[in-house]
Structures are given as structure tokens and as C-alpha cells.
Amino acid sequence: KVTFEGHKVLRIVPKDEVQLSLIKDLEEMMEFELDFWRGLTTVSNPVDVRVPSHVLNSVKDYLETQNIEYSTMIEDLQILLDMEQKVMAGARVP
């Protein structure tokens, strides 16, 4: 089973067209193995992206170097997944 320990979901809000374009570049960097949960639309609309733990620092460096603001939407994806499983299993107990 694929697990997601340490994967974070970042919420990035592009503040202008330049940042929009820089985030688009990020989207196209296949080596980061990013998973865009909520894709790029327009300025001010949030972009949510799952970032694997092994590229987290590189992605953060990229965003910070470009002055792109972001916040952490999900701190550790696996913790939420484990909770989801627990709730589902609990619901099956008569």
C-alpha cells in the first residue's frame, strides 16, 4: 500500500501574473513528483499541491527564492489517511 509519510499539502496563492507563471513552471518540473490537488487558475486563487517529503526542501526553496507565499494546508498526509481509515473501520463495528 502506498503511504504518504511526511507528505505535505501546500496552499500557494499567486499574487500576480509573474508568480502564476512561476508556479506553472513548478507544475512542469516532473522531477519534483508534485501532485496538484487544485490546479492553477488565476491570480489570487489558491493552488493546492501535495509535496513528497524528499523534495519538500527543494520546493520550499523554489517558492521562497521567488517570493511566492505559501502555507501548509496538510502537515502530514499520512496522519489524515490513518484517521480516515480509523473512522471507516470504526463505522463497521456493530
Binding site: F4, V9, M30, D35, W37, M73, E84, V87, M88
Partner: protein, 310 residues
């Protein structure tokens, strides 16, 4: 396993087997109203089940609703289950739904991408695509919402099998898509087609693959406005609405662009609720509120379809 659909737990997420069992129970409980049609098989051989809600007649004009074409969007399949039960409980008591069903049939496909959904339970909760291997690539699956014959291959989808938006080798290459295409064409009397996704709180109409507005854009916009207003009235959930390309981004090969081009005027797609905290992992406690608010918007679209025959 619940013995009847009244004891089914709509406030939790369910496996594919539980969804299939629910469908069979609902049909068994309502033999003169609900039937199950198998419109095809998924790549891995699972049945593509569609529930038909009909009060009679032959090939009546119909409304299509699908959920779960992107398998990881679990709140959509869960909402589909709730909608199915809602149709059964409200028919005969809710005058608007009763009027709709007196003239129109409703088709509901709850698990539109069953292989993907099973895979989200067994192996990778974050899986979005189908599960068909791609020759020459180690990456599996096609984005079934980039595989329709509407602007297929144009910008707004990927040609890379490893991308989450991989369009596939050709339009309708995925049996999950082709089965709906064949069904819609053979039925030939579908008047509204509503495809449900999550998450970013949007209600959209064609087009996604081009900027040209549809001939019906003004009417579609007005209906979307009313639908969103009704949705928001329940819990205050804020939605945006408009054409796909204006509201979200360019997306080619999408379902409702194809259905609109087939002459199905009331073609809409939803992106359901997002709390800004959970994404695809919306807590189960939010399933029912999400389904309830979405139902209000669905009713608006279905009622408009009833009152504006074409």
C-alpha cells in the same frame, strides 16, 4: 452489511463492494421505480452500473448524473449514494421532484471509475485515473475527464502517461468513457448531463477546450447562478460559476463539452465542497451536508430542464 437502505450509513465512506450492494438493495426495495443497468465493464472487468429512476414510459427524456469519475474524490461517490436514497424517499412527497419524475427519467452512475475507486481503497488513496496500463510506459491510467471526443489532444490535457491529466492514446480509449458515450448515443433523449467532481466549489458549463461561448451561454449562466444561490442558502458554502475555461482553466477532452456538442444543452459539472483544510480527505462528517447542499443545486438544474423542454 446493512439489510436495507434505511440502515445504510450515508455519513461514512464505503468500499466499492458496499456501493454495489447498496445499489442492489435499492433496486430490490423499489422494483417498480429503480432498476440497474450495466452499461459496460471497466478495464479490470468491473461492472459499470447505472441506476435508472423511472416512473414509466418508454425512452423518456432523461437527466444523467455521474459521480466518481476521478476516483480519489470520495465525497462525490458518497454524495451519489445519498442522492440515490434521496430520490427514492422524496418521490411522491416532494412536489418538484415528483413533477420531474412524472416526465423525465434520472440515470445515476455512482462509481464511474470503479477500478480507480477500488485502487484508492486497496493501494493508493490518492489515485485519480483509470487503471489501464499504457504500452511503453511504467505509468498506469488515463484521466477519464480528458478522454472525451471534444477538443481531444488540444491544450488542456497532457500527452504524457505519467501525468495526472494524461488524455490517453485516443478519444474514448477508456471503456469507462466509451460506455457512457455509447449509452448517451443509443438513448438519444438525454436532456441534462451533470458530472460531479470535488473539490474547489464551482459549478461550470461548457466549454473547457475553447474560449468561444456556447450558443446557450446566457441561459446556462442564469441557471448556474440560481443553482449556486440555492446551494449556498443551506450552509453558506460559497461557489463560483461560469464556463470551464473562464472559471478554472483550459481543459480539453472533458465530458460535458462532448455532451453539449451532442446536443445536450443542460450540461454542467460540479466541484464539490472544500473546507480549505482537507482537500480530497474531506472528513466523513461533511458527506451529508455536502450532499444536501449539492442536491438543492441539482434540483434547480433538473427543474429547469423539466420546465424548458427542447
Amino acid at each position: 452489511q446493512p439489510q436495507n437502505t434505511d440502515s445504510f450509513d450515508f455519513a461514512n465512506y464505503h468500499t466499492l463492494e458496499e456501493i454495489y450492494s447498496f445499489q442492489d438493495l435499492l433496486v430490490a426495495e423499489n422494483p417498480n421505480f429503480v432498476s440497474k443497468i450495466v452499461i459496460g465493464q471497466s478495464y479490470e472487468g468491473r461492472p459499470l452500473n447505472v441506476l435508472k429512476f423511472s416512473t414509466g414510459g418508454t425512452n423518456r427524456p432523461a437527466i444523467w448524473i455521474d459521480t466518481g469519475i476521478h476516483s480519489r474524490e470520495w465525497v462525490t461517490q458518497a454524495s451519489g449514494l445519498w442522492f440515490a436514497k434521496k430520490i427514492v424517499t422524496d418521490y411522491g412527497t416532494d412536489p418538484t421532484l415528483t413533477a420531474i419524475l412524472s416526465q423525465l427519467d434520472i440515470f445515476l452512475e455512482i462509481a464511474t471509475n470503479p477500478d480507480g475507486y477500488a485502487f484508492t481503497h486497496s493501494s493508493n488513496r490518492m489515485w485519480r485515473k483509470t487503471r489501464k496500463p499504457n504500452p511503453g510506459s511504467s505509468c498506469v491510467g488515463v484521466d477519464p475527464n480528458r478522454n472525451w471526443d471534444a477538443g481531444f489532444g488540444e491544450p488542456g490535457a497532457s500527452s504524457s502517461p505519467c501525468s495526472e491529466t494524461y488524455r490517453g492514446p485516443s478519444a474514448n480509449s477508456e471503456s469507462e468513457v466509451k460506455s457512457i458515450v455509447d449509452f448517451v448515443k443509443s438513448h438519444a433523449n438525454i436532456k441534462a448531463f451533470i458530472s460531479i467532481h470535488s473539490y474547489s466549489q464551482m459549478l461550470m458549463y461548457p466549454y473547457g477546450y475553447k474560449t468561444t461561448p456556447t450558443n446557450d451561454a446566457a441561459e446556462l449562466h442564469k441557471v448556474a447562478q440560481k443553482a449556486v444561490s440555492d446551494l449556498t442558502s443551506l450552509y453558506g458554502t460559497k461557489y463560483t460559476y461560469g464556463s470551464i475555461i473562464d472559471t478554472i482553466y483550459q481543459a480539453s477532452g472533458g465530458s460535458i463539452d462532448w455532451t453539449y456538442n451532442q446536443g445536450i444543452k443542460y450540461s454542467y459539472t460540479f466541484e464539490l465542497r472544500d473546507t480549505g483544510q482537507y482537500g480530497f480527505l474531506l472528513p466523513a462528517t461533511q458527506i451529508i451536508p455536502t450532499a444536501q447542499e449539492t442536491w438543492l443545486a441539482l434540483m434547480t438544474i433538473m427543474d429547469h430542464t423539466l420546465k424548458n423542454p427542447y
